[in-house]
Point group: C2
């Protein structure tokens, strides 16, 4: 199995991405193609080798002179064919790699995969799904930020793709699907969610109805459907709130001089709420396998991302999505 | 000062509402008009008196034969003139009370206040604002659930009303205002938020730009503007997540046999995240003072709600809103 890895994407690129690649290559049965600025990669690898007594494994390196940074407009990727996030997609399309992985700009990754692979089957818009941290690892939030202006048909397809992912990757048969609104009753929500409700109700999905804010941390459904703007807000709110609460509690405990054991428990909770442990998640709805990891990934999270990518290849996720998406959803409500 | 109190609204009505009224009457300089089913009120008061050695204070009772329950459609309040949540508004309109207070159905309260008082000045739609718990008591989230289908002009007015409230009630001069989207950059957001951004940018408000999910728990702005559907989701997500985290941590600590002091600290945090301590919040944008408290309010929270209501009367909030709302906002972007 061959994976094209964007070495330039992520807050700690290229160093931590390369450290992750070295660890993964030693532990896993996978070929890695390192994509990025060749001179920078070779320099970093030499530095890593100098500090590493084991000797470095072999890597193929593919030069990509350009890098998309987090503050740049994702659509600029269209003109920047030499950007590493584009080149990893090209390697997949050319059949040189089975899948690609970046820890870089999510929006740019979605645009790059969409223009390189095209849409999958009858998909209207791509999206991304993210597990609700370690708190509810069996709950996938979709869309997690790809599409900020959604139509009911998009949301219904997001639900379907999320469902297939949860079934294939997490091994949960007939995953439950819920729609985020302002209350559990069928008539809750706004125009967008009420029409989506009708589409989901008429679909073959295991739709359990409207959800409300409590249901995300409570893990009420396996697939929680929201538009990408509010999916993004919900995830960042969760990160920010848990950080605030755990930080304040830790501070109070240290004031109170409570034992070391307390700190260990809080550290565990911090780790549970850590985004980077999720590994990487595929872009749903494009005709090729691209996975995106958290921008703050360090080496261990990069290894996790490589494992996620390998799994997506092993279960042939792309084919499952393609087959599952053939006209299950009715045209209207 | 006279306040009309809906004795029938709330999860613990009428008992806890009446207990709160008794406590408030003893501690505060206020007249309370108890509104609800007279027989039920008299029976409950007799029971309370029998268990109370101090003797009950005097109350005026106004009979309202009907009650709106939480699972009922808020617009049904239009036909139900005898509902307690309608009668408290009537008492204000007739000049018999300075303000009214309910712990009942928020949606029904908004509809009742709107049809009784009418809109305030040039307000397009009413809304409600809620402080972001004890975690960030100087951050008001608006709209917290009144309007689920919003237009940019509504959101801009919500920002304005929230700003006036924070200035008048919390005493913060020139409160900062932020717009919730999926990132800090000016071009982030969806169609609705991008147009709202332009309106706020051109307003006289102290607008600090787009916010993202982290900013709510971090208290980045005094007034955080979102549409009511997602304001509701954000608040319930916050409640549910803090409940989950604190509950799990408490459980782990009790497993680990850590000292009683730890539980006290966690209890403090539970209290900090408790909705009911907020008191009550006014409906913004109607031409009369109605305040709404949390449905789960017990006696102490009812007392808090009565204090909030008294404060709104004392600072003449309605008049501040009326004056502040006169055409500050430009017509378009």
């Amino acid at each position: 199995m061959k994976i094209a890895l964007d070495v330039m994407g992520g807050d700690y690129a290229p160093r931590e991405i390369l450290l992750g690649a070295v660890q993964a290559k030693r532990a896993l049965d996978v070929e890695l193609i390192l994509v990025g600025q060749r001179a920078a990669i070779e320099q970093e690898l030499a530095d890593i080798e100098a500090a590493d007594s084991l000797g470095l494994p072999e890597f193929e390196i593919v030069d990509a002179p350009d890098v998309i940074h987090f503050d740049q407009n994702p659509s600029s990727v269209k003109e920047r064919r030499g950007a590493s996030i584009r080149v990893i997609c090209d390697l997949v399309r050319q059949g040189h790699a089975d899948a690609c992985l970046t820890m870089g700009h999510t929006g740019a990754g979605i645009v790059a995969s969409l223009i390189t692979f095209g849409r999958l089957g009858n998909v209207l818009r791509p999206c991304v799904g993210i597990p609700y941290f370690g708190l509810q690892p069996n709950t996938l939030l979709v869309d997690a930020g790809a599409m900020v202006d959604c139509k009911p048909e998009y949301l219904a397809q997001f639900a379907q793709m999320g469902s297939i992912y949860v079934e294939k990757i997490w091994g949960i048969a007939r995953p439950t699907v819920g729609l985020m609104t302002n209350g559990r009753e069928d008539n809750k929500g706004n125009e967008l969610t009420r029409t989506t409700f009708a589409l989901l109700k008429n679909s073959e999905l295991n739709f359990i109805g409207n959800l409300e804010g409590y249901d995300l941390p409570n893990g009420t459904a396996n697939v929680v459907v929201m538009d990408g703007l509010w999916g993004n807000v919900a995830l960042k709110l969760t990160e920010g709130l848990s950080e605030q609460l755990l930080g304040r509690i830790a501070k109070r405990f240290s004031d109170a001089g409570v034992a070391h054991a307390v700190q260990n428990i809080l550290d565990e909770f911090h780790a549970m709420m850590d985004y980077a442990r999720i590994g990487a998640i595929p872009v749903f709805g494009v005709d090729g396998l691209m996975l995106i990891g958290h921008g703050r990934s360090r080496a261990a999270a990069v290894v996790g991302g490589i494992k996620s990518t390998m799994q997506a290849v092993q279960v042939d996720l792309l084919n499952s999505l393609r087959q599952g998406l053939t006209d299950q959803l009715p045209e209207g409500a």
